[in-house]
Amino acid sequence: MSKKVDSTRSSETQSPTVESGNQNATTSSDTSTSDRCDEPIDSSLELRPPLPPRPSLLERGNTAAGGSLRLSKRAARPQLQSQATTALSLADVHTANRLETSSPKSSPASRAVSRKPSLTPSAHQPSIAVSEVDDGASVRSVVPTIGTRLDGESTLGDLIEGAATPAFKALSAQIERANPFDAVLAEDDNLSTQMQHEFQNVESMNKDGQNEEALLNIWKAKLKHFFILSASGKPIYSRHGDDQLISNYIGVVQTLISFYQGAKDPLKGFTAGDARFVMLPKGPLNLVAVSRMGESDAQLRTQLESLYMQILSTLTLPSLERMFSNRPSTDLRRPLEGTDVLLDGLADGFTRGSPSTLLSALECLRLRKSHRKVVDETLLKVRSQNLLYGLIVAAGRLVSVVRPKKHSLHPGDLHLIFNMLFEAGSVKAGGGENWIPLCLPGFNNTGFLYMYVSFFSTSEGALSPEAERPSSAGKDDELAIVLISANKDSFFELRQMRADLVAQLEKNGSMAVIKTAIRKGHASCSDITPGTVLKHFLYKSRGNVQFTMPSFEPHFHGLIAKRKLMSLYHNLHDSIHSRTAHLKVQHTVAYDATALAWETPLFELYCVASSNASRAALVAGANKVVSWIRREEERVFIIGGAVF
């Protein structure tokens, strides 16, 4: 859902880039795209039935313009100057609590049973169940936010004493801890304890099945599961557990899905106990997410979309459809062999909580405008004939991009590439250079592109790809050069371009600049907004489809604290993105943090401060972030990029 909202909104903000004549350009460029892409790789080339009809060009042109990373200068700049405002207008302010924002989402129209662990097991009568829960929800006006007493009053800004009564303040001062997110409390949900075991593998079952129960308990304790099965119910992927262990559950899932499909009323999601189940049917596949981490349906669906894109990236859409139309009982695990690491990497990223996926945006390495310009110019200078996209990526953050004028880069595609390079580890484990055929579904889901990847360690003096990279090199100091071509024979050409690029970057000093920027890492929140109460924030620039954030340190250490923070961000994100929400500003107070979500046509901003921070202080911090971004916009975001 959030994705839908996103894409429509971003197309609004990007409308200035689509001039009247531009439609033609997009269309023709798409044609050339499909021509330039190779046919899907398949050994049974001769036996292939005709390809399914391609989606209309116009349609694809539109979607490309909508959700993609259009690094156009015009898109954001003029608007920014005319429209951005650091003042929050009163009319936009709503104070809503979580119950109110989440319950309308499960209205009968959405066909999903409420996410609240309801007492209504009659899932086959969802409309009744929902209305019951809705009633209950509105009666139970539990207010986790302390400030809701101020209905028509100014809830932000010049508020004396803010949301809290003096008594509360005294109390919270006592319980205030240095880093509440780091503390593991006894009354915490199972998140803290389970998170430590979340990524451990469930062993395989003994032959005699004696350890089945123990394994099942481990398996059931996982906070999050992802399943992919074929429409005929064959298991394709599961994050945890082997086939033997999960086959019963796959059967149950399949029965549920097909029951509702038979009723022409597909099941979208349901709640059982504290777990939320979300289904996403995609052509011949069904994807299922099971989460006990409190994400919204829309967020889980975005995660499933991403897994689906990974599958397309391995197979391409026509080849996937062909396999299933030829034989509906196809076992997809064979053609997908070896890509489990990639799916696992994505799934674990979602479980850890990824700002990039939450916001459907990319993060860039902060560089001075002039430095980035030099890098861009170098890329253009050494660009070789068959290059489609060129990327310099540092530790999951984009340093620079070179692309044809007609083609933008889809954030979803880049996420797949980053996942392959930095999470899955199978590419860099190879060392040296890699040549990887892949489909970028956001670019063109019908054909393959070819990706040249070479890694550098940014630690001193190890710039030759042939030099052994120290195994201790963390992922934070890795620099990858990614060159993508539609021509499968262009490996040596791109290899030469890489060599030229590195030589040039060394010569003009850019390499040193990039390395320094990587080593510096994220700026801390107190450096960006000195003197404010903020501990962390996420800022997404909608026009650029990019986000920026400060370092997690010194307030959030370790996996659990980060995950808690991400859960808070998920809640905030959900509250301003749920279908019925017309919120522009959301303020939340919990025992460990206060938080603010603020959206305008230009940006989304999510800020977190300690629990005793007043609303006014939080708003002051938010305004500081916005003015910092204004100042630094061309450093923290790539605006334009190198275009040829």
Binding site: L45, E337, S426, G430, G432, K488, F491
Partner: protein, 195 residues
């Protein structure tokens, strides 16, 4: 060389269900045959997965040699290897040197009952097809160096000098290694056991 081959093979074979090569990796390694001669290998390491099969010709088209790897603990992997050998003999450069490597000898050394392909069978097949044959371990690097040394020795000397075999070690700089066609030998490591 051993090191990188080892890491390659370890990834591809010791735990093939969890990790295997995505796409192909391109590596360069130099091996000293004797004091006078060094051979620079340019190696394509591919996983041999079916979905990449149409890419394979790109890797072996100009190759001087190929190493086809199977897993001695999986009988079916030898069949895959045989079909790769057949394809190479039909499609690749007619002078291509093909070596057959039965991997995971370390596993069998520990647990002899894990062996699924008898050495004699594979050896007999290799002999009648004119292949070099070794049982190797990616994990312990057993026989890996021997394998590549055997390949290097088998390269025709004139081809070797044309193709970038270096002269006396001190004169290495004089050799043109600029373009691929003239620089060394491409070994396509096509792993049968991942198929």
């Amino acid at each position: 060389m051993q090191e990188s081959l080892r890491s390659e093979r370890v990834r591809s074979f010791s735990d093939s269900s969890r990790e295997s090569t995505i796409g192909a990796a391109f590596l360069t390694q130099t091996i000293a045959l004797d004091e006078q001669t060094t051979v620079k290998f340019e190696i394509w390491d591919t996983a041999g997965q079916e979905r990449y099969k149409s890419l394979a010709p790109m890797y072996y088209r100009n190759a001087n040699c190929a190493v086809v790897v199977y897993d001695i603990t999986q009988a079916s992997s030898l069949d895959k290897a045989k079909s790769w050998v057949k394809e190479l003999q039909r499609q690749a450069n007619e002078n291509i040197i093909i070596a057959l490597a039965g991997n995971k000898s370390d596993l069998v050394a520990e647990q002899p009952d894990k062996r699924a392909v008898p050495t004699a069978d594979a050896e007999a097949y290799a002999r009648e097809s004119g292949l070099l044959f070794f049982e190797t371990s990616a994990k312990t690097a057993e026989n890996v160096k021997e394998l590549f040394t055997a390949i290097a020795k088998k390269l025709p000397i004139e081809q070797a000098s044309q193709r970038g075999m270096r002269g006396p070690a001190g004169r290495a700089a004089g050799v043109d290694l600029g373009t691929r066609a003239e620089s060394g030998n491409t070994a396509g490591g096509a792993g049968g056991c991942n198929c």
